[in-house]
Every structure is written in C-alpha cells, then in structure tokens.
C-alpha cells in the first residue's frame, strides 16, 4: 500500500502526509523549511484540522467530523468556508496602474472592467507562458486589487517589483504618474462557497447582496456584535466568485480581526462548515478550473490552456503592449499544437501524469494534468493536454481516447468543461 502510482504530485504529497501525519511533524517543519501560518492556524487546530504543507504554508487538508467527500457534498448542497489566506493579496495604485497591469497581462482592464468588477487573468512571460493565474479587481481607474497564488509568491513578487521599477522609469509613468504595489501581508482571505452562502452572509450584513452579482465586488458592513458601536462595525471587501463553481464570496479580512470575523461567519449556523484543501481540489476540478503547477505552468500559454477568453478583444492586435504579445498573437492567428481538454473516463481514475493515447494506434497523444473521481458525478473527471496538430480532431468534444492507468488502457471521452454545471448568481 505504500507505493503511490499515477497520483498527482500534490495528491501524492497529501496522501504521504496524511499517512505520516503526527503532532511532531505538523508543528515542526524540516530545518530551513519553516511552514508559514495564516491568521486562522489556531482556529483550524481547534476545529480538528489535519494540517499539511501546501505552497509553503501549513494548511488544513480536512477537519475532524467529515471526510473530504462529505465536505465536498456539503459545499455543493449547503455552504463551506475555506481559509485561502495563504494566497497573496496586493494593491496596485497610481495614475497608470491600469496600463501597468495591462503590460503584464493580456486582459482589458482600463476599458474592459467597470469599477468593482473582477476578471480572471494571467501574468505572462516574454514567450507567452503563464507565470501565474490571477484575479484582478478594479476599484477605480488608479486602484486595483490583485490576488495571486501562494505557490508562486517567490516568482510573482520579484517579477512585479522588477517590472514596476522598469515601468516607473518610462516616459508615460514620468508624465502621468507611476505605480506602487502594496502586498497586504498577514491579511486574511476566506472563501464562503455554496448555494446557501449568500443567505448566510446576508444574515450578517444590511448590504443588499443581490446588488453584487458574480464577478463583482463591494465593501460591505458587517457587525460583530448587536451593539452598533463603531468598533464592532467592519467594512469588508467581498468579491462574488470563487474556486468551486458554486455561488459564493471571497472575503478579505484585516489581520487583527481575521479570526473574530471568521468565527462570526461560522457561528449560529450549522449550514456553514469549515472545508479544507481536499474538498477544494475536487470542487475546482469538477468546475473545470485550473490549478497552477498541475494544469498551468510557464511553458503553457493561455491559448493552449483554453483561456483565450481572458485576452481582451482590443488587445489582440499588434502594439497592444503586453509581455508575451508577439507569441500570443501568433498563436491566436495560427492555432496551437496542445490544447487543454476535459476527459471523462471509465474504471481506474485518470490522475496527473497518466498518458492519453489514440484508442486505435495506442500512440501517445497527450497527458492528464489533474484528475479525480468526481464525488458529485460518480465518474472519473480529468483535464489534460492533447496534441491537436498531430492528432487532428482528437481534442474535440466527443472524441474517444485512451487513458493509461497502471499500464492498462481505459476508455475516455473528451468532454466539455465544467463537468458540473456552475451555480453562479448573475443578478
């Protein structure tokens, strides 16, 4: 039972940790690799969390009292609260902030976003590869809230700093004003997700949440006691969306009140249960969402990843001025070899690293990058990349492909994503 095969890198890590978890291991990381903690570390421990190292942080995998699958179903049917405080929250401010972020991403931010509107985007390297995926929210023309992956912190932050330095010496920045980045160190971030998330959050605020549809955000006032004293009133940034395919909110919490407000979000309701990384991964996969490191990396472009929709319309012509532009424009024009696809397969679950083959010739056509037995659908769902040029048409929906698990070929069908229908509130 020790040998783990055909498991995603992260899953292997997770299981290995879960098989070898002990108090000593959890509290002390190996020398030189001290795991960081979010502001909710003590709350996780109090709630019986099994902690694992993830993206340099000691994070809850699951909580006592429910299995990852039970937790997954709870989020789909009720509501779950995830600590995502490991993610990097930053503010970019300045008269040319929109242009700066449009230099680092192919998104349309100056004209494409209204105030308090968010979009998924990608930071690109000069060859069009994805440095990280990110959610960018416009507050004003000169102020943007950006959330990036914890696992890419050590790459993203130096990249931002280097590019900012260059930006602030440009003629444009000198003339119209430069840009400053503020990393919101130690701020909390929780994701309240599920069909009952909105009703629950509404019970804690007088702000009409129906005015914040999917992809929008707002500062809402939440009271942490029945008194209406100013000290107990908290103005919180909430963004409607998340990483599960369900309706929900990502709520940014100041360092000093992260725990208090999380307790408030959990209190007085059996509807909302804490949910860990295990449920988060199965939920995002069903929703067809990419995990950086598995499904996206620096050698993969947004065109290959099926994320061309993040490339703004008016940014698709020469001179748009974003890093990686020439390669991205070439790919949009000429097409790409590899394409990200969804695969539903029979029998043994297809997981990261499993080969995709032509059913007839058994020739390799691609690789699975994430896969899991879907708790919601009761069948195996996976995503991966198929070489669309050498295997003409096999990336199209309905194509039958082979997935090799433990040396045996299993049948799979290329299936559009998301696998589970999203349940967003669109107003």
């Amino acid at each position: 039972m020790n040998g783990l095969t055909n498991v995603s890198r992260r899953s292997t890590q997770l299981l290995r940790r879960s098989l070898h978890t002990s108090a000593a291991l959890r509290d002390a990381a190996p020398a030189g690799q001290t795991l960081r903690r979010t502001g909710l570390y003590d709350l996780h421990k109090e709630n019986g969390a099994t902690m694992v190292g993830f993206a340099g942080f000691d994070m809850p995998l699951k909580y006592e009292g429910s299995t990852p699958v039970e937790s997954h179903h709870h989020v789909r049917k009720e509501a779950g609260l995830f600590d995502v405080g490991h993610m990097v929250q930053s503010m970019f401010r300045g008269p040319t902030a929109a242009q700066f972020l449009e230099h680092l991403t192919p998104s349309s931010l100056a004209t494409g976003l209204k105030p308090y509107q968010s979009t998924l985007s990608v930071l690109l390297n000069p060859t069009g590869g994805i440095i990280d995926d990110t959610v960018i929210t416009k507050h004003t023309e000169s102020s943007f809230y950006v959330v990036t992956n914890a696992g890419r912190r050590d790459v993203d932050l130096p990249w931002f700093e280097q590019k900012l330095k260059e930006w602030n010496t440009t003629e444009l920045a000198k003339k119209e004003g430069g840009v400053e980045m503020e990393v919101m160190e130690d701020w909390g971030l929780v994701a309240l997700q599920g069909p009952k998330a909105a009703a629950h959050l509404q019970s804690l605020t007088s702000h009409d949440l129906t005015t914040i549809p999917f992809g929008r955000s707002a500062f809402i006032s939440v009271s942490s006691s029945s008194s209406s004293s100013a000290a107990d009133t908290h103005l919180l940034h909430v963004a409607r969306g998340g990483y599960t395919g369900e309706d929900g909110f990502e709520i940014s919490l100041p360092p000093s009140t992260t725990t208090l407000l999380t307790q408030l979000l959990l209190s007085s309701s059996p509807t909302v249960q804490l949910a860990g990384l295990a449920a988060r991964d199965s939920l995002r996969l069903e929703a067809g969402m990419c995990l950086y490191g598995n499904d996206l990396d620096e050698t993969t472009s947004p065109v290959e990843a099926g994320l061309s929709w993040v490339i703004g319309k008016e940014r698709r012509s020469e001179g748009a001025g974003f890093v990686g532009e020439s390669e991205i424009l070439r790919q949009l024009k000429e097409g790409v070899e590899r394409r990200r696809v969804g695969v539903v397969s029979e029998g043994a679950p297809a997981r990261q690293g499993a080969k995709l083959v032509d059913l007839k010739t058994e020739e390799e056509i691609g690789t699975i990058t994430s896969g899991i037995p879907s708790p919601t659908l009761g069948k195996n769902v996976a995503m991966g990349y198929i070489n669309a040029r050498t295997h003409e048409g096999l990336h199209r929906k309905g194509s039958e492909v082979g997935v090799v698990v433990r040396g045996k070929m299993r049948k799979g069908v290329v299936t559009p994503m998301p696998f589970v229908k999203p349940n967003y509130f669109r107003g």
Binding site: M1, L19, P68, A278, A348, R406
Partner: protein, 161 residues
C-alpha cells in the same frame, strides 16, 4: 486522521510483546492442526492464513483505509495469476489518491472479492473482513510466519509517524 493519530499515540505506551503473527483461531474438529494466522506488512496489508485450506485472505489495514479516505475504485488481480511476495497485485483508489496493493505472500490468486466492483466502500466500512481483496493459495507458507504481528505493525505505524 486525528483519531488515527490518537490511536497511534495511545499504543506508544504499550510495549511490543509479540514478535510473530498471532494465532487467532482454531477450526473446530481439527484441534491443534488447523491454525488461522494473521500477519501484517509495513505497507499496510494483512493476510489471514487458514492452514486447512491453504488460502490466505488479503486485505488492507484499517489504518490504511482511514488514511486513504473514501475508496471509490479497487483494481484486483485476475484469478489464476501467480504472484510473488512484494508484487503489485492491484490498487485501491480514493478521491485523493491511488495506492498500490502489494502481495503480502507468494502464491496463486484463487478468488477475488467481486463485491468490491459495485461497493468499493466496503473497504472503508469493514476493511479487514467484508472488504477483503483476494484469496491466495500460498506457495511459501513460511512467509506468513515472517510477517509482522499486530503489535509490531502498530509500532511500525508509529515509527512512520
């Protein structure tokens, strides 16, 4: 996992008395000759050997089941397959991970648990009984004697931790 950890910590205080697999029963009618012996591997399998039939029933341990979580798919060897101790004979898959099953003993696969095809969750409900994986006709019965006793197995979990 918390409960497993506590369990593992509790057993820390218990000294390891037995060095060999435990005799867990005697069949009626054949006193002294028919022994049922259960042994464990450090890879979290068990085999229960009945010397009357010469068959060993292979399972994963309760600890392994708990660590894996909800089992959704079980791959088993074909009946008639000849296996050597340590061979990969299948896999148990939960939502989070796939884990190989190694043959705890050498022999020929005589029977597989067909119920697991439709009810892989039996491994979580009753891992060491109704969730059995396969029955092996042992070719080297002495191998059973060399497996871990329950106490030694528990100690091995602890040292892993």
């Amino acid at each position: 996992m918390q409960s497993i950890i506590r369990q593992a910590q509790r057993t820390r205080a218990v000294p390891s008395m037995r060095q060999r697999p435990m005799v867990i029963g005697r069949s009626l009618g054949a006193p002294l000759r028919t022994l049922v012996t259960k042994g464990y591997t450090s890879d979290h399998e068990t085999v229960t050997f009945d010397d009357e039939t010469g068959l060993g029933t292979v399972t994963i341990t309760d600890y392994a089941q708990k660590s894996l979580g909800d089992v959704v798919f079980v791959e088993l060897p074909s009946v008639g397959t000849e296996v050597s101790q340590g061979d990969v004979i299948g896999a148990v898959e939960s939502v989070k991970a796939a884990s190989d099953i190694y043959a705890p003993v050498s022999g020929v696969i005589e029977e597989i648990n067909q119920a697991l095809a439709d009810q892989p969750g039996l491994i979580n409900k009753d891992p060491e009984q109704r969730g059995w994986l396969c029955k092996v006709k042992l070719t080297k019965t002495a191998e059973v004697e060399e497996l871990l006793s329950e106490e030694r197995y528990r100690a091995s979990i602890e040292s892993d931790n």
